[in-house]
Symmetry: C2
């Protein structure tokens, strides 16, 4: 990834550390060391440690929100929408796995309006996903299981994909999409 500003570089380095140890266990000194400067110098580019977390999580949450809006507007079946959503998650995992780790594990360390804003976006995302599943069930395209179990099962796999993709990084993305869609939608039996 090309980094255009010193601020972006700091946020990128911080995200790598957050992914490894979590937001609370990473200090400004850790981040500074990764940048090759002193901790105090970071504050010429960012306002606070909190700001790093905010940018990482909220920017990514907006990507998911706009991705969902985009897919919902398509003239395709519920099942095809779910396929598109799986692909959306895989693309984001491949390109932004560090930010994804922060979004998954450190969102509770956001403060005030940022926290409220994130929770709202997440609830909204899940609500739209749930509705697509329900519609699929109602037209007989999806098995009549508890919609919540289906939603959770798919989302939990997609949300933690970043943990796994780094280890098996060699796997081709298109192959991954195909097999992941197959396993999540058609099962393994």
């Amino acid at each position: 990834m090309k980094i255009y500003s010193r601020k972006a570089e700091i946020i990128f380095q911080a995200s790598q550390l957050f992914k490894e140890k979590g937001y609370s266990a990473v200090t400004m000194r850790d981040i500074a060391q990764e940048m090759g400067i002193k901790a105090a110098s970071l504050y010429n580019h960012i306002k606070s440690k909190q700001e790093i977390l905010s940018v990482l999580i909220l920017d990514l949450a907006k990507d998911f929100t706009s991705g969902m809006k985009n897919i919902e507007g398509m003239k395709i079946s519920p099942l095809q929408k779910i396929e598109k959503l799986i692909e959306l998650h895989i693309d984001i995992t491949v390109n932004q796995s560090e930010a994804l780790a922060a979004l998954n594990n450190d969102w509770m360390h956001l403060e005030e309006e940022d926290l409220a804003s994130f929770i709202k976006m997440r609830e909204n995302y899940e609500e739209h996903f749930r509705n697509i599943i329900k519609e699929g069930i109602s037209i007989g395209q999806i098995q009549p299981r508890h919609p919540e179990v289906i939603l959770f099962s798919i989302l939990s796999t997609l949300r933690t994909l970043y943990l796994w993709y780094q280890k098996r990084g060699k796997l081709d993305v298109n192959l991954l999409k195909r097999d992941m869609v197959a396993v999540l939608l058609r099962g393994i039996v």
Copy 2:
């Protein structure tokens, strides 16, 4: 849950806080406040903050290890073993969701031998799970997809079940087992 010693009570209260904010963000003063005592008093019962994390994670890891060993010894098909494993995870989620959160999110904060011991147990568990999947594929009981994708898909759902079960806690455990097995094994289509 009945708590038999002051030490166990401390570990239990700590686990609740770790689940909410993560190990690094929880202070000894936080734990003490939950117990209604001062931080210094905790040290009459435990050696260190690290000890709490060790007990939580390693005890639970041993439960998974012995559960796997137990299931592997059964004279049933690979698919039936996977069903048993899903049920094992659900039972542990229902009874020990706080320790499960620590195991999932804070294992990297273990130190020295504890960390090495945990990683070894986790690798061993995954290896056994992977072999069951491979055996199922080889006898044609499981679809011939990438075993790693199947393993990851099932495990990621089961590992994060604790995040979801608390919200939908009213759901009957046996109903959950039935629907979860169906969704994970037979898919949704």
